[in-house]
């Protein structure tokens, strides 16, 4: 009988290669994502101001943060913005998807039109809406020129309403995407179930209410997760559209963090606000990703 043929060098190298190939990406992610997260969270417990500094101050930055009216304003704004943005996008996306699913003509073209804003930069979106909503030259001015002398639309300059213009621009940009998600969900429903429901005598209204919309649950969940994470990360749009103003009327946590860290030299507080943002997103994303990855196994 022959000698035991040991795994030769080449075979062993081959079995190591996969991990070798994966490791650069993994190292990048571990350092630049998780290492950095750790560092930022650490900074939020230090007395860092203009530059990182390592004097431990415990929860001081957090308690300062929660006493800042600026932070409270940005949280209130985020509440209004996120609630409206998510609900309007969902309702609009679902509605448009249902209408578009009625075997309409030129569906492809309509879909293309609804979705193109997703390809644009928020800065472009912000610029376009900024001037369109500007009372001096935009909609208000146009309608007044056209003869509606009493027409007023100054939301973008109005402390009480400016946040709604951010909602408007954000909905404009993403609702087509939500529509596409729901449309894919609608197309994924088994035809035979619908035929069966129609045989059972379900009216159109009941067909949607009882059969179709309940089956879109995964699409609702995805839409919610994607929209809420986009809402929390909203930054560029505000910068381009209102710059956070008028006053602090459209400040959001992301712009708050940026100005406290880089303009006001309050790095510790900035890091604390970033940590809170991260925790919020993590609370939404981690369960979602966990469920998604488990299912795919």
């Amino acid at each position: 009988m022959a000698q035991a043929a040991n795994a030769d060098f080449k075979t062993r190298l081959q079995s190591l290669l996969p991990k070798l190939v994966l490791s650069p990406s993994l190292a990048l992610v571990l350092v630049f994502v998780y290492g950095f997260i750790f560092f930022s969270v650490y900074l939020s417990f230090t007395d860092s101001r203009l530059l990182p500094s390592y004097g431990w101050v415990g929860w001081e930055n957090y308690s300062k943060l929660w006493r800042l009216s600026h932070w409270k304003t940005s949280l209130t704004n985020m509440g209004i913005f996120a609630a409206l943005y998510i609900s309007v996008c969902t309702v609009l996306g679902l509605g448009l998807a249902i209408f578009l699913d009625q075997k309409v003509r030129a569906e492809g073209m309509i879909r293309t039109i609804y979705l193109y804003p997703m390809a644009l930069s928020f800065i472009v979106t912000g610029t376009a809406w900024k001037w369109f909503l500007d009372p001096g030259i935009g909609l208000e001015n146009v309608l007044q020129t056209w003869g509606w002398a009493t027409f007023e639309f100054d939301w973008i300059k109005n402390r009480d309403f400016a946040i709604y213009t951010v909602v408007l621009a954000a909905v404009w940009q993403t609702s087509g995407f939500v529509m596409a998600m729901f449309l894919a969900g609608l197309r994924g429903i088994e035809n035979e179930i619908l035929k069966a429901a129609q045989m059972d005598g379900a009216s159109n209204w009941n067909l949607y209410r009882r059969i179709i919309i309940p089956q879109l649950r995964p699409a609702f969940l995805s839409a919610f997760v994607i929209l809420s994470h986009l809402a929390i990360k909203t930054f560029d749009l505000v910068i381009a559209l209102t710059g956070g103003g008028p006053g602090r009327a459209t400040e959001l946590p992301a712009t708050f963090m940026y100005s406290y860290t880089f303009s006001r030299n309050q790095m510790g507080i900035g890091a604390a606000s970033a940590t809170i943002m991260l925790m919020t997103i993590a609370a939404i994303m981690i369960p979602y990703l966990y469920a998604e990855l488990r299912e795919k196994k």
Binding site: M1, A2, Q3, A4, A5, N6, A7, D8, K10, T11, Q14
Partner: protein, 370 residues
Amino acid sequence: MGFLDIDNTTKSYGAVEVLHNVDISVDEGEFLVLVGPSGCGKSTLLNMIAGLEDISSGEIRIKDQIMNGVHPSKRNIAMVFQSYALYPNMTVGQNITFGLEMHGTPKPQREKAMKDVASLLQIDQLLDRKPGALSGGQRQRVAMGRALVRNPDVFLFDEPLSNLDAKLRVDMRTEIKKLHQKLGTTIVYVTHDQIEAMTLSTRIAVMYGGYVQQLGTPQEIYDSPANIFVATFMGSPAMNVVPAKVVLKNAKPVALVALHDGSTVSLPFSQDNMTAWDGRDIMLGIRPETITDEDAADRNSSNIARMTNRIVVTEPAGSDTFVTMTFGGKDVIARMRSDADVRAGADFPFAVNMEKAVAFDPETEMRIIP
């Protein structure tokens, strides 16, 4: 030592052992079929022979060379996969010669080998096509061509026919058998289809629950199943296994089995050793084709028992008519000639060829060896 030895081989995933001490020795030129229901470990065993899965303990040897830890490409084996696994981006010709190319065979030799295999399998005219443009049967041939061109020591087939429709499957089965007869290569073939196993193999290993239940020629497996699992798994319709009681009648052992109305019939055993089971319960195994009408009973059999039982259902299948009756408290199937005069609800005189009947120990489910 055989040509391919699977020596006390086990496979575990973590703490779970999925293959238990498999011992099979295959001679050169043999056609071994691994058959069993899904999850029995047959594909795992094949993958271990191929080197696609590690061997947890034991040895696998090809031509006396230990294969443990040897890369699949260095085992001089070839494999035909269930999905054929043809490279979609390459032409048929490139598919066939890819392995030779990887092994550094010069191009002229590759071309020649490809031509030889293509004409053997009659796929010459397909060489420039992509797999996507082929029919199921053609893909199957190309997959075999890719295996053949390497001129390997052992061919491995992983359920190669299960993606084909019923008719093509029968044709390809014949093709594979012809090829084996012509080339005399050693083949290990995995299937869940017991008919493929019976028709193709020189030997069968019936597997279940990670154990080799029985290893033997098709005839041995069919006529002398080692246990109730093998008996019922091999053969279609499956062997009838009914509870019976052994008693002595004129010092000869007979099986008492309940008829539909609760009365019993006594069926004399051919094997005298059943005397030892006097007074005990057994499971009696009778294949459907050994229960017939009286005219169709096997004339060469020395032991035809007769009984009258009520027909529950008749199922004409063209060449035969299957009859279901209640026997031993179970649904039992008999295989009649198509012209037999059987009607549901009627009492009918059956002939049972007891020479072919087998008995099982109800405790261990093992066959009682005559």
